[in-house]
Point group: C2
Chain length 494, copies 2
């Protein structure tokens, strides 16, 4: 069945979009490069008052050690955090690649005029007061877009916190980040606050590794499709995770997605799934809601993976940052409890995986690690007949055997940790894994919270992604397999 793609042209900002491929000229550099890898950034409307957005944005650039030039602008001049403050855009040196506006929405046209005069062609509008705040703001936004277009200026935002790039330490937003982990996940969001505390939570608590984060705010010019095209070619992006409340330029978004999803997984979380959610989302960004069933179908046709909630969104982003590609759906599990094994088995049924039938070789290798009366099975219940002979080998030896077993495609390790007795020696368990790892290996850790945290950190340091429950680990692996299977399948038939 072919899907009537036109139905998705329901976006209120459609008229103002001019980022179709043709407009840029074929082969032109993606404009996102200027926003994510600028050699120089001017920040207009900075503040010396600690904890004001105009102060925090400079602090973030400094603290994270941005590699480009930083030019704060404020009519008062002086210094901020060791940087010279320019009194006006006019006074700035030539060839500034990107200007960030923290000035009031009312002064936007004037600000853009100065940028145009200075030859600045890329502008991030941080301030709110546009389409998200009613009809007057929406009118203001249309004017700004028209003006920028006439002057050849590309806009990100407005009402956007700004981008992050962990590969040049660009943290161009005013949310005071305390922690950020580098990795292969690139976020695109339409919600100002989404890229800040949620991303910080993801990196600090879930050990999610971020490559880029781009908050498009009201999305008046640069939109998801254009960002995706940049991320498609970005060698540091392994997975694209998009939080959206409405779809902009739907046809092009789906066209681009269809191509990108063949190279990299794209995970989308979109609110407005239910009536209440749809109303709430609309009141937030002033966007028009789209029928969720149609949206869902369109996403699937474009090869996009849709997450139903925040947990799944972050967890899928995390699993797709895993460099190993599963060749099949057969999962091998080491656990400390038959009950947990049964939960994983249930989750396999639910999320499209199968429990691997271990090869004879694997069974023979594992047998000596267990008491003689214990069965070697999958899930492997290491405590089935009492405390195992050597708790660390009970994990290490199966893990190594699974890497060579042609019947195993991926591995889940369930650890019970306890300071008194079963304190895992991960150095021993993971000793040779790095050298021989060819399959995805994930983990779940249970026990006292402090120790769980400690062990999780240790595992994550060895690039074993840890998940919050056995079922969530299985769900993530199921999604990983499904994505690679569908890409493989398409490749075969095309």
């Amino acid at each position: 069945m072919s899907f009537p793609i036109k139905a998705l042209f329901v976006d209120g900002h459609y008229l103002t979009n001019f980022n179709k491929k043709g407009d840029q000229g074929g082969g032109m550099e993606n404009v996102l490069r200027a926003f994510l890898e600028p050699k120089s950034v001017a920040i207009v409307g900075v503040s010396r008052t600690p904890n004001r957005p105009g102060y925090l944005i400079i602090r973030n650039l400094k603290e994270f050690g941005f590699e480009g030039e930083i030019y704060p602008v404020n009519p008062q001049g002086g210094e901020i955090l060791g940087f010279k403050v320019f009194k006006s855009i006019h006074e700035l040196p030539e060839n500034i690649e990107l200007a960030v506006s923290m000035v009031s929405a009312d002064d936007s046209i004037e600000f853009l005029e100065s940028c145009a005069a200075k030859g600045i062609r890329n502008v991030l509008l941080v301030s709110g007061g546009f389409s998200e705040s009613g009809e007057i703001g929406a009118k203001r936004q249309r004017e700004v877009v028209r003006f920028a277009r006439r002057k050849g200026i590309r806009l990100m935002g407005p009402n956007a916190v700004g981008p992050v790039n962990t590969f040049n330490n660009l943290v161009l937003h005013f949310y005071p980040l305390e922690y950020l982990k580098k990795g292969g996940v690139s976020f695109i969001a339409q919600s100002g606050q989404f890229c800040c505390p949620v991303m910080e939570f993801g990196t600090s608590s879930m050990h999610l590794g971020v490559s880029k984060s781009i908050d498009l705010g009201n999305c008046c010019d640069i939109d998801e499709a254009e960002v995706m095209e940049y991320l498609e070619e970005d060698p540091n992006t392994r997975v694209i995770a998009i939080y959206m409340e409405s779809i902009h330029a739907g046809k092009r978004f789906l066209e681009v997605s269809k191509r990108v999803t063949q190279k990299k997984p794209v995970v989308v979380m979109k609110t407005g799934r239910t009536e209440d959610g749809s109303k709430t989302a609309a009141s937030h960004t002033g966007a028009i809601a789209v029928d969720d069933t149609i949206f869902d179908l369109a996403l699937r046709q474009a090869g996009i993976i849709r997450a139903k909630d925040l947990d799944e969104f972050l967890e899928l982003a995390k699993i797709f940052d895993c460099p190993q590609i599963p060749k099949g759906e057969r999962l091998a599990v080491v656990t400390y409890s038959g009950g947990i094994g049964a939960m994983v088995a249930d989750a396999c049924g639910e999320y499209g995986l199968k429990l691997a039938e271990l090869s004879k070789d694997t069974v023979e290798k594992i047998r000596p690690t267990l008491p003689s009366s214990a069965k070697v099975s999958n899930p492997l219940d290491s405590f089935a007949v009492g405390v195992p002979l050597d708790i660390n080998n009970v994990y290490r030896i199966p893990l190594e055997a699974f890497m060579e077993d042609p019947n195993v495609d991926m591995v889940l390790l369930c650890f019970m940790v306890n300071r008194l007795v079963w304190r895992m020696d991960f150095d021993h368990i993971l000793k040779d894994l790095k050298r021989i790892q060819t399959k995805p290996v994930v983990a779940w850790v249970v026990g006292d919270a402090d120790l769980v945290r400690e062990c999780t950190e240790r595992l994550e340091k060895s690039e074993i992604p840890v998940f919050g429950s056995p079922e969530r680990a299985t769900r993530a692996l199921g999604a990983l397999w499904k994505y690679h299977f569908s890409v493989l399948k398409k490749a075969k038939f095309e």
Copy 2:
């Protein structure tokens, strides 16, 4: 439609069950009292080797400060952790209420004989080597049950870690618990390891408050129904959470459940939902699987709430420990982000809640806390038009208004925390809540992991249950409402 209850008599141990009401004599004290509130406990097969199960069980009793008498037994005599060790059961004082066997399965009959001779009528069999380990073990289990029955001894286990009661500090199991929070959740489990690390994880990381935990192991005599009857009358149990792999004495379990669920919520997690899960569970406890669709229907008819995975199981247990009862399904939300508000709205649609329409009074009370251009809406987006005037009042004033608003039945607070800027002052926010709280209030906290943990602890100390995501918080509240609604509805029509 009436359900053919007989179909549930599929339990392999059925012949050995003798805990039907009649057998005990009407009005007799529930035998679980001896297992959960014993005045004296003999532990047979203790060990002086640290970290051996026979050592750890004494350590737990001592460390947690069990209020009853403790009598370790080992042929070598001497002392363990300051307790005199008796050389045999024969040497013990009279009137021991409960004996715990850590002796080998082979010696069980001999052990029971000594108990009978000493007049001990309640026995916990910790050791494995019974029905979970094949036909020889199953035969041994049948012999033990027959013998105990003849001697009038009641059995818990075998292959069970033993019970916990936080109200007399009884921690009668060998898993070295480090942390346990007291509360209203009572667990019943059929999996040895389930009551240990999972419970510890629940209490230490999810702030779940435990009242009792009873691991029934192979469930050869005392079963879920009997435990439920005890917990039904237990004033310190607010919710019963059961982890099961198979159903024992199905008809009676459902009869008892039907009655108990009218007084207290009962949450069940049962593995074997899928084919793989069912096979795995069967190999674990040697129990026969029951068709999951039939099981599911039977649970619903008995008023039991079924959790589909470990997260939901622990989260439902947590929300049902909430003392406030919602009078309707209307949720009021304070959030720092429109995107998060939209997620909660979606979750309301999914989990059977509605967003409350705030009363005029409430709107008037909230308005002064926001910048003049901000809308008072639900979800209340406190950052909609920029940083709020006073971040703490943005939470406190709505929270107090919601308590008086007849249109609001429950509250979800979504906090973004940051050490630099939005450090919440929970003392201020929750100042008067305790005095005026009539409705369930739950929270979600996001930001840097360390600060999230710190704030979560502060909120939990004020008895605001914190959940891991906005959707999980909403799901929990939805289940809370659904339970109370169904009980209220039944009460009306009966």
